[in-house]
């Protein structure tokens, strides 16, 4: 695959799809929600626990889906841990912008804030796959009760 696959399926994505670090379920969760795409049958179950400061202390996902979907769930769990609701919302909007417009559409600050999530920078060229990456987010936003998400 090398050169051509590089762009979309970066090593980090393939790695996390194969061996997710945040798979599973939070015990005694403060929030939980499902996301599903009836067109391909993909499903994500997200559970989360909040700290005393109400920030997201732990996020786990149980995902049946494609590599993009699993890796997105996993990198989402990693990136969103430690955020408060405003921070989660801001990160989601940056991620959405990345999927819509690619890196070109983002300021330097956004790029820095996205961190690991920049692994999906090339997904904007594959419009029909965007939903694979946003599915875990809609579950997380529902589990966090922010009233956002697609």
């Amino acid at each position: 695959m090398s050169e051509t696959a590089e762009n979309l399926y970066r090593a980090l994505v393939v790695e996390r799809a194969r061996r997710p670090l945040h798979a599973g379920e939070v015990e005694a969760a403060d929030g939980a929600a499902d996301g599903s795409n009836p067109l391909c049958g993909d499903r994500v179950h997200v559970t989360l626990r909040r700290g005393d400061d109400s920030r997201l202390a732990e996020i786990r996902h149980a995902t049946r889906g494609c590599a993009i979907c699993i890796a997105s769930a996993d990198l989402m769990a990693e990136s969103a841990t430690g955020l408060d609701d405003a921070g989660l919302s801001a990160l989601w909007h940056r991620f959405e912008a990345l999927l819509r417009d690619g890196e070109a559409g983002l300021g330097r600050e956004d790029g820095a804030a996205l961190g690991l999530l920049n692994a999906f920078a090339d997904l904007h060229e594959y419009r029909s796959r965007r939903k694979c990456a946003t599915l875990p987010w809609s579950a997380l936003l529902a589990a966090a009760g922010t009233g956002e998400g697609s």
């Binding site: 695959m1 051509t4 696959a5 979309l8 399926y9 393939v14 799809a17 067109l39 391909c40 049958g41 993909d42 889906g65 494609c66 590599a67 993009i68 979907c69 594959y126 796959r129 694979c132």
Partner: protein, 412 residues
């Protein structure tokens, strides 16, 4: 594979008729293996449509002037071509619709309104949504039952199940595919027609896939209804065909109302036109019908027998090459099959396979292929599907197999 008496014909020269096949995609030569979703168009079809729009066009049927008469001739001439393609006993049995989907909905509304509560429509587990949802809607509207014949593990319609569902004589219509768009299975249509008729049911075949890959003779099949769609037969979108026996069409009420389908109109009462016009309301898809005519001329000149032999050879070769790939499973193994292969690779999701193939210029479909109940029957949520056309080559299958092998080792 069926033993075919015909030697494998060389159709490679026809590739040049399809301009899109010279395109590159993401920097690679396009390998188009999604023809079961919609086929590409030869110059002959493009030129026929362009010619009409440039040189000979007006609305049909009602015009007394030269352009209208000539356009009507061209439009009505396609009815003869379709009748010949299907070996219909009369051109008046050919109804133009917008697509297979529209044709099946026409039958579900019009013929469906003649079925009585207590009667049933019987489909199979391997139907495309287009041959499921209209019957569900009829069921919910009018109280007829919807029954389902089972599919075997091999991916064939279970004829025992079919007979069992017909046994009480309540089935008014059997509506099944003539070729599965997922499994490639070619169903034993003549046998199914005989079974249906013996139980007092009429029979309709969804020929959306079958009519593209083999000769169809509605009289030899002893069918009552047959539908197909232009865009899969190398023709334009927006045009489909319903064939039905004249006596049945005459007994059916019209479906859509408007111009061209009436004899006379007053606010109290309108009189319908004769068949087939009774079913063609409004300005028809004139340019698209002319395009379909060119497509029929095109495949007829090559010969649907030759197309079948070519695709049969390709399918055998592809099955061999794909099944040699580690972890790859082909869905279904019917004895009679056309050029459609659905497959999974252990540990790789169909969407990832499709995207990685696409990055290499190879177009395949991934998903449930508008046949969710069939996927469920096989315990799957999605597969990748490669489908072949008269322009597909062994080289393209080699590219597919080699790339799939790399995709597998990349993902798994």
């Amino acid at each position: 594979m069926n033993a075919l008496t015909m030697p494998v014909p060389d159709l490679s020269a026809y590739r040049a008729d399809f301009p899109i096949l010279s395109e590159t995609v993401r920097g690679k030569a396009l390998v188009f293996l999604d023809s079961a979703a919609s086929a590409q168009k030869p110059n002959q079809v493009i030129d026929a449509m362009t010619h009409a729009m440039r040189h000979q066009y007006a609305n049909v049927h009602r015009g007394l002037h030269w352009m209208s008469e000539r356009t009507s001739d061209a439009y009505e001439g396609v009815r003869d071509k379709v009748a010949a393609l299907l070996n219909a006993s009369s051109r008046d049995e050919i109804v133009f619709t917008g697509s297979s989907t529209n044709a099946i909905n026409l039958v579900a509304h019009s013929y469906g309104s003649l079925l009585r509560p207590g009667q049933a429509v019987l489909v199979s587990e391997m139907e495309h949504h287009a041959n499921i949802v209209p019957w569900q809607m009829l069921r919910d509207r009018s109280g007829i039952a919807l029954r389902v014949a089972k599919v075997t593990d091999a991916g064939e319609i279970d004829l025992d199940s079919l007979r069992a569902e017909l046994a009480d004589g309540k089935v008014g219509l059997v509506s099944v595919t003539h070729m599965s768009n997922v499994l490639g299975t070619i169903t034993p249509a003549a046998e199914i027609a005989a079974i249906a008729h013996a139980a007092g049911a009429k029979v309709m075949f969804d020929g959306s896939q079958a009519a593209v890959h083999q000769p169809v003779d509605v009289q030899a099949l002893d069918a009552d209804f047959y539908v197909f769609t232009g865009h899969k037969l190398y023709g334009p979108t927006g045009i489909g065909v319903l064939w039905a026996r004249r006596a049945i069409l005459e007994a059916m009420p019209p479906f859509l109302g408007g111009g061209d389908m009436i004899g006379s109109v007053s606010f109290e009462r309108s009189l319908w036109a004769e068949v087939p016009h009774k079913f063609e309301a409004g300005t028809p898809a004139i340019i698209e019908t002319i395009g379909l005519g060119a497509a029929i001329d095109y495949v007829s000149a090559i010969g649907l027998d030759a197309i079948r032999a070519h695709e049969s050879d390709l399918t055998g070769y592809a099955l061999e090459r794909l099944q040699a790939i580690e972890g790859l499973t082909v869905m279904g193994h019917a004895r009679a099959r056309g050029g459609v292969i659905s497959f999974s690779i252990a540990g790789a999701h169909a969407h990832d396979i499709a995207t990685l193939l696409d990055q290499n210029g190879i177009a395949v479909r991934a998903g449930a292929h508008c046949a969710e109940p069939l996927m469920k029957r096989f315990g799957l949520t999605s597969t990748a599907r490669a489908s072949f056309a008269l322009y597909t080559t062994r080289t393209e299958i080699d590219v597919l197999a080699e790339t799939l092998d790399r995709v597998r080792s990349f993902l798994v």
